[in-house]
Symmetry: C2
Subunit: 358 residues, 2 copies
Amino acid sequence: MKTYSIAAIPGDGIGTEVISAGVEVLQALAKREGNFAFKVDHFDWGGEYYKKHGRMMPANGRDLIRKHDAILFGSAGHPDIPDHITLWGLRLAICQPFDQYANVRPTRVLPGITSPLRSVNDKELDWVIVRENSEGEYAGVGGRVHQGSPLEAATDVAMFTRPGVERIMRFAFRLAQSRPRKLLTVVTKSNAQRHAMVMWDEIAVEISREFPDVTWDKMLVDAMTMRMVIKPQSIDTVVATNLHADILSDLAAALAGSLGIAPTANLNPERAFPSMFEPIHGSAFDIMGKGIANPVGTFWSAVMMLDHLGEAAAGARLMRAIERVTADKRFHTPDLGGTAGTADVTAAVIGAVEGAND
Amino acid sequence: MKTYSIAAIPGDGIGTEVISAGVEVLQALAKREGNFAFKVDHFDWGGEYYKKHGRMMPANGRDLIRKHDAILFGSAGHPDIPDHITLWGLRLAICQPFDQYANVRPTRVLPGITSPLRSVNDKELDWVIVRENSEGEYAGVGGRVHQGSPLEAATDVAMFTRPGVERIMRFAFRLAQSRPRKLLTVVTKSNAQRHAMVMWDEIAVEISREFPDVTWDKMLVDAMTMRMVIKPQSIDTVVATNLHADILSDLAAALAGSLGIAPTANLNPERAFPSMFEPIHGSAFDIMGKGIANPVGTFWSAVMMLDHLGEAAAGARLMRAIERVTADKRFHTPDLGGTAGTADVTAAVIGAVEGAND
Ligand SMILES: CC(C)[C@H](C(=O)O)[C@@H](O)C(=O)O
Ligand SMILES: CC(C)[C@H](C(=O)O)[C@@H](O)C(=O)O
């Protein structure tokens, strides 16, 4: 029997609540499947760790998780610590050195969930946003001169490399090719950002030649938000820079009914390093400890993890269980307008996993 | 009697159609008011001009419009010409040297228009987005090295100055202060863009001290898109960088029912140069020449121009006329789901201006 080693990093806020729910569900699923098992190691890194040790994770942190088959991540973000410290000290400190350059964010309106858009019903919206996850606006490049004086000037630099853009573009075209509609939208802002964004446009044209069966178009990021609202059905796969896709994917999650259900995979497609799976909702300290965090984003992220581990059938079983549960409004958490708690949803999904005879 | 000199620059595509409608309406309004007049000079700059002369406007173009009281602009953008040429050759070539650093974008759901959001009814959404319009991501800074080779690297640089950020922040706080709710949201992305965006955060705190009666909060740009969808009523005035606000304002226009109704003012608040007023819909070549362009964005921009000229009463009359017409679905153009043409809407607004006894 195969045993997968999972590094669980709950992080802060509701991260701990959803990750423990996620681990429960994964263990129940492995038991139901019978042909694989999980060995889960927990790492208590994050904001509370920072308050004790002055850093978000130990100096040898990455070595402790480098050999795991996958990482399950909760959230980073703590009210007592500046956001850029929690971000750069943990999430980016794992993503970037582990070269998880492909951030994949599916969006669907799950059964039972109502999109805030009048024009959208269940399942009518089926997007995957591919986010460049290793460079661009998150390169950390930039600086300030004459700090605090009237002469002050400051820059934030979006820095891209040709191989970095080529690999994410190829990844996105390949993903689009694997989906029924074979449709890709390449998002840039090359009218205003006229250097690196023009390189993106050029590389899109080059890589598109390797995928003659993929229909693709180009869109400016501002116009893309409008298209998501007005013609959501015209969209399938999307690729964009780190920042542009960060913005578009939050909007996508909102349009699909809740940030609480949105999953992410941070993939190192070459498998030289472990990939990382996380809900995108963040630490949400305002609802921490109340037992009402929506665990669906974590469960769906676990589905993506199973796919990545090669356990697609188990992933499909878990996805069916999730959809059966969201279809039942009794299991909607407050972010979805319901009154269910994390434990209710978790128990229902485990029940659906165990009961599912398919 | 006062005569205002207006430089009309229709530009390309439907720009010509909406600007001629706008001028008609302005002339009818002046006649109705009786105490001022417009002298309108037309400038045929844009993509067609570029095809003849190799540039978007004459070398002395700015000198020809520098003394006008205001500029009414249609749109730049032409299918035969790269977007960055039309943008930098005309719109930015006016905005930036004329130091129109405050770009103001009101969003409301006008009477008779349906928001794509289930939760929004007429008038429930009343936002003003203030966009930094002179630096940042539109500074043009950046470059490429090893172009086309595997070694290629490229940057787009968001470059800000302290005085540039202070003045837009002060402008936004003052605008928020003038509105009933006195509410401002400062949008940045300082967790990821950790240099200039942190300066934005610091300057927001500094300037806020000058406006103790304004309630303000801070929001990351990705989370802001979600708030616009999920809690639209919690928003009033917003200030953001050139790119972030470009994205947010397109989203705002979509959520308010159509890009066709959204107006903009490019203001030089110090009045050292003329300010410029334009609909934000763009050249829309796909519907050019069909007589179906929505002129409401231009009419609303004309209202903003009247306010800027000190003719607020006339502006209010025009706004009432616009709202009376949008309330009547017979005057909805195709972007609003109707079948009216530009001329129908224009005639109806002129009728309402002339008939209005208030
Ligand atoms: C938490 C934050 C740093 C993060 C980001 O900006 O990447 C988040 O918004 C996301 O989308 O995963
Ligand atoms: C046409 C385009 C260059 C422009 C911009 O990006 O500023 C437009 O999107 C806008 O919002 O006015």
